[in-house]
Amino acid sequence: MRRSLPAALIVAFGIVLLLDFVLVNPTLAGLADALLELVVLLAAAAALAGAFVLVLRHWTDLVERRRDPTGSLVLLGGFAAMLLAGFYPGSSGASDPAVRWLVAALLAPLVASLFAMLFVFLLAAARRGLAVRTRQASVMLAAALVVVALLLPIGGAAGTWLAAVATWTMDVPIGAVFRGLLIGVAVVTAVHASRVLLAVDGADD
């Protein structure tokens, strides 16, 4: 009974949304819409609160010279620059040229560079994986080797053959694994949701 109120709310909200999904009833639809509106507002408020807590924490770190003050300074500087670009008098918000410049010329290249480094880090991780779990990592590496070979951008008859095999691999073995995975995830989610809705012991903890 420790968490009976949250569990009761989840059950009530879940049943209303579930009924709204299967029944056509204006009153029920109105109630479901109101609940969804509430969730959307809560999510927006949580995002704002998260940003506020992030700034507060890094401000404290900077003032008290804890952890990584330089990193905190960079974060707060970036935050301030983006807010200024979006909120200065006369700014058009997210579509303002200053915001678009910050995103296109600064943020996008930085994030894309981080993603590009995955190439090197994945190979290094493969090496370490082999040292820790030889058999499992070998299977994974062999599969990776095959997939990379199938996707080589070569032309001619060899390229056409590789493309056909790549499509078959994606549709049949890999597709089967992912279908199984998705069905498994859906079944587990449905079972867990049912346990919550039926208030089966322990499901709300």
Binding site: A47, V103, A126, S138, T160, G175
Partner: protein
């Protein structure tokens, strides 16, 4: 600095598969084998040179566009089934890290759709998607999109809950313009659109749309353009028909861009150079490097496959 150096050295010398871990010594740090750093540097320099110096590397032996044009044919067939002057909703939830991979295909799709007289409405469920959508809407305006053909619905918080809400009420109260008025006349929800073009990223993607929107609006066709890593996750939905078309590899995207380019792309004056598909030669060099490294690791590990590594032995002994 001394402790830092020691930590780096020790992490670089993880035991290999066929070698038990050596006891850590506190003495002089061991030197790395000569040439390892130079080898990496040479490979990266080769890759960089291929990326910079290989425009127009199309030949019979080297080609980026996928010879299997099935994905492109399905996408164009879906576009071809649209009515005259269709309303298309763009669910822009790409992320800044993977967007460069799919950007040429996305822009080609906008061109393809607008050439068919489509009006585009943009909505995002992620902050990064919102930033990208704002930039793309501005770009389409700058390209001279016809009046009233574009609508920026903006950012919707709450991901799944926000999506379910969009089904009934897609337009914010402040939305104005020809497209907004036309969507309101059609009910104001997602059902007002003839097609949803979903742009996926690493956070929210077409899968969320399929889960939340497809069961509520089974008649709304969903097509997706996503980065390569999302292909295995999305392919089953393509086979089941919940997704009617999908472009999810660099090669499929390049094939699509080539087809649309053949009909005349309309990039901005400063774009042709930086908005082209990646170089096939650079991709080939990178993949050959990956193949060589992976093969070397794999063959090096073969003698140790039958044996248990120290970590596995520890796991099996239990606590």
């Amino acid at each position: 600095m001394a402790p830092m150096t020691e930590r780096i050295e020790s992490s670089a010398e993880l035991p290999t598969a066929d070698q038990p871990p050596a006891p850590r010594t506190r003495g002089r740090p061991r030197r790395r084998p000569r040439g390892i750093g130079l080898g990496w540097l040479a490979l990266l320099a080769l890759l960089a040179a291929a990326m910079i110096g290989a425009p127009g590397d199309r030949s019979a032996a080297l080609t980026l566009p996928n010879p299997d044009g099935g994905a492109v044919i399905r996408l164009r067939a879906e576009f071809g089934r649209l009515p005259d002057l269709p309303f298309v909703l763009v669910g822009m939830d790409a992320d800044l890290g993977t967007y460069p991979e799919i950007r040429p295909a996305i822009r080609a799709a906008f061109d393809d759709l607008m050439r068919r007289g489509a009006s585009l409405a943009f909505v995002s469920l992620t902050a990064e998607g919102r930033a990208i959508a704002a930039a793309e809407v501005e770009r389409l305006h700058a390209m001279g999109a016809r009046d009233g053909a574009l609508l920026d619905i903006g950012y919707v918080a709450g991901v799944e809950a926000g999506l379910v809400r969009l089904v009934g009420t897609a337009l914010p109260a402040s939305a104005t313009g020809q497209l907004a008025d036309a969507v309101r006349r059609r009910g104001g929800g997602l059902a007002a659109f003839d097609l949803a073009l979903l742009v996926g990223g690493s956070d929210v993607g077409p899968r969320t749309w399929i889960e939340q929107v497809a069961p509520r609006l089974p008649d709304l066709p969903l097509v997706a353009i996503a980065p390569t890593f999302a292909q295995p996750e999305l392919s089953p939905y393509l086979r089941s028909g919940q997704l009617t078309a999908l472009l999810a590899t660099v090669r499929d995207a390049a094939a699509y861009v080539e087809v649309v380019s053949g009909e005349g792309l309309t990039p901005l004056p400063d774009e042709p150079q930086r908005d082209q598909s990646p170089s096939a030669l650079a991709m080939l060099v990178g993949m050959v490097v990956a193949l060589l490294v992976l093969a070397r690791l794999l063959f090096g590990a073969i003698p140790a496959i039958g044996r248990r590594s120290p970590h596995e032995a520890n796991d099996e002994e239990g606590p």
